[in-house]
């Protein structure tokens, strides 16, 4: 998959044109100045300019309360924007819901099911709600969707007896009842055990490989890093940055890590050789390298050895999205106030 070139930080959430579509043509989702102010005067989403390229797995990242779900609800036509425009699959929302939404599968803020219906009947119910779904093929499509999320064996059980993980899978199955152009998944791995998370991520990759654009919101950075090609970061209702995951992570400078039992000595040597922000820890020391850091590495290593530091490990750890996020916001990844 060709990745888009540019990465621009948005100033006040206004100037983003990043993540332009690759070969796929028009973006699947595009918002311009999208704003939602709730009745209480609370500004949930503030001037959002988002572009989701066709064919991408787009990670929508931000702390809890940063406006992700409100944005998704506006994209799905559930709530009307206060101002601004949201375009999904080329049509403007919420006016074109009947045209757009049959081509979109969505999991919004966790699964919601009829506890007194079986898993299979829940899917039939949601399928019946779509006027473009053919009742004649319903049974087969429901069966295929259950098969796909691994729920065939439990399909006859009442949904109230399902575990959270099973409910999450059933919600995902509902999103996969039809071939979709866009899959919107809001925190799809919430409440799942590690095995369940892996399976969901594998499913997301599989769906993406079929050509479906996936819009995945999460507050888990490693989740975004594992499955996404593109990402956008929200904070307090504003878009901080969007681009490819590789570019975002590259913004975070790598850190030099030395593994050694002689922590104090190693830290001292590193400081003498121009390494800043040196942080000694249990059995390791790490520090920030300047831009030209890579050329310094052989000299640093030699200096450590010459100073008699027993070096067990020496290398640069690649920057993560988390580092990028901290660099962008200057804050940790906590719940927004």
């Amino acid at each position: 998959m060709t990745q888009s070139p540019t990465l621009e930080t948005t100033e006040g959430g206004r100037t983003a044109e990043a993540g332009a579509a690759p070969a796929g043509g028009a973006p699947v989702i595009r918002t311009q100045g999208l704003t939602k102010r709730f009745g209480g005067g609370q500004l949930a989403v503030d001037g959002l300019d988002l572009t989701v390229p066709r064919g991408s797995v787009f990670g929508f990242l931000g702390p809890n309360g940063s406006g992700k779900t409100t944005t998704i609800r506006m994209l799905m036509g559930l709530i009307a924007p206060t101002s601004g425009v949201a375009t999904v699959l080329g049509e403007s929302m919420p006016q074109a819901t009947s045209l757009v939404l049959p081509r979109v599968g969505a999991l919004i803020e966790g699964p919601a099911l009829y506890g007194y219906l079986s898993g299979r009947d829940n899917l039939a119910r949601f399928d019946a709600a779509d006027p473009t779904a053919d009742p004649r093929t319903r049974k087969a499509r429901v069966g295929a969707a259950l098969e796909r999320v691994g729920l065939s064996a439990a399909a006859g059980k009442k949904a109230r007896a399902y575990s959270l993980g099973m409910k999450q899978r059933l919600g995902l199955a509902a999103a996969l009842l039809q071939p979709r152009e866009l899959l919107v998944l809001d925190e799809p791995t919430n409440g799942l055990d590690p095995q369940g998370m892996r399976e969901i991520r594998a499913l997301v990759r599989e769906v993406a490989a079929e050509g479906t654009t996936v819009f995945l919101s999460s507050h888990l950075l490693d989740e975004i890093e594992q499955v996404c090609t593109h990402a956008a970061v929200m904070s307090k209702g504003r878009l901080l940055v969007q681009g490819t995951v590789a570019e975002l992570a590259a913004r975070a400078q790598g850190r030099l890590v030395v593994r050694t039992p002689a922590v104090a000595k190693a830290a001292e040597v590193l400081r003498e050789h121009g390494v800043t922000d040196v942080r000694p820890a249990e059995g390791r020391v790490d520090g920030a390298l300047e831009a030209a850091g890579d050329e310094l590495l052989p000299g640093l290593c030699a200096a450590l050895v010459a100073a008699g530091v027993p070096v067990h490990g020496f290398g640069v750890e690649r920057g993560t999205l988390e580092d990028a996020f901290v660099a962008l916001t200057g804050e940790g990844f906590d719940v927004a106030g």
Binding site: L78, L101, R125, A128, P131, R205, E210, T212, C228
Partner: protein, 297 residues
Amino acid sequence: MSQVEAVGPSRPQTVAAGPRRGTPAGFLALFLSELGLTFRRMRTIALLGVLALVPILIGVVVKIETGDTNGRGGGPAFIAQVTQNGVFLAFTALVVSLPVFLPMTVGVVAGDSVAGEATSGTLRYLLVAPAGRTRLLAAKFAAAMAFCVAATLAVALSALLIGSILFPLGQVTLLSGDTISLGSALLRVVLICAVVALSLAGLVAIGLFVSTLTGSGIAAMATTVGLVIIVQVLDSFPQLHAVQPWLFTHHWLSFADLLRKPMYWDQVWQNLGLQALYVAVFGSAAWARFTSRDITA
């Protein structure tokens, strides 16, 4: 960093291309689904069961009471008739259920219709399916009306059954004194059931409107049932004489006019016209509210 595999040429392209068209069968599917959802629910079955108990209770009480006095007991006109003919238990049971039991069950079903889906969160999934807000509201109204028919039939059929067991059957003497055959009496039961079920249409529309106002199913049910009680209390104050003809409960018992020969339709038409007015007003209000509302539940 593991990124998504590139789309290989060997991968099957199963992605939908372009908009799909809705079909009439697909459009109707939600209405059928809504009916199934209503009548497969334990709560609905329980409500219908309670309604079916009302005539059994009346029948047994009347039987015990009149066993001693040999049919010379007083009481409402209908009750006296019951001992003469089991079919009259159906009319009696409907007269007793219509002011309280029937509207309570209808209030539960109509009040919970939209709000209950909001409470459970299924509303957002129906709307992104996309059910269409107007279509969903219409399906909810249709299902609630179907429940009105089922509720009325539960009372009437249970009454006919228990009436035929406890009391004699045969020619029916109407309120006007004329006598009609058992067959035409049963036809009148059917006609009156239809009128009673339609009498509840106004309440269904009110319940639906209340249901769009809140995200809490319980609150919507309580409000709707509470409204029924308040309106009936208002209907009993002589001072409110001027507004009473406009209360949706005011003409409910007019169906008794159909137990005469010839049938008096004036009050019945007034009742049905008033119900239609309530459906128009509160149906529009529900639609206006529901189609413009932010779904945050």
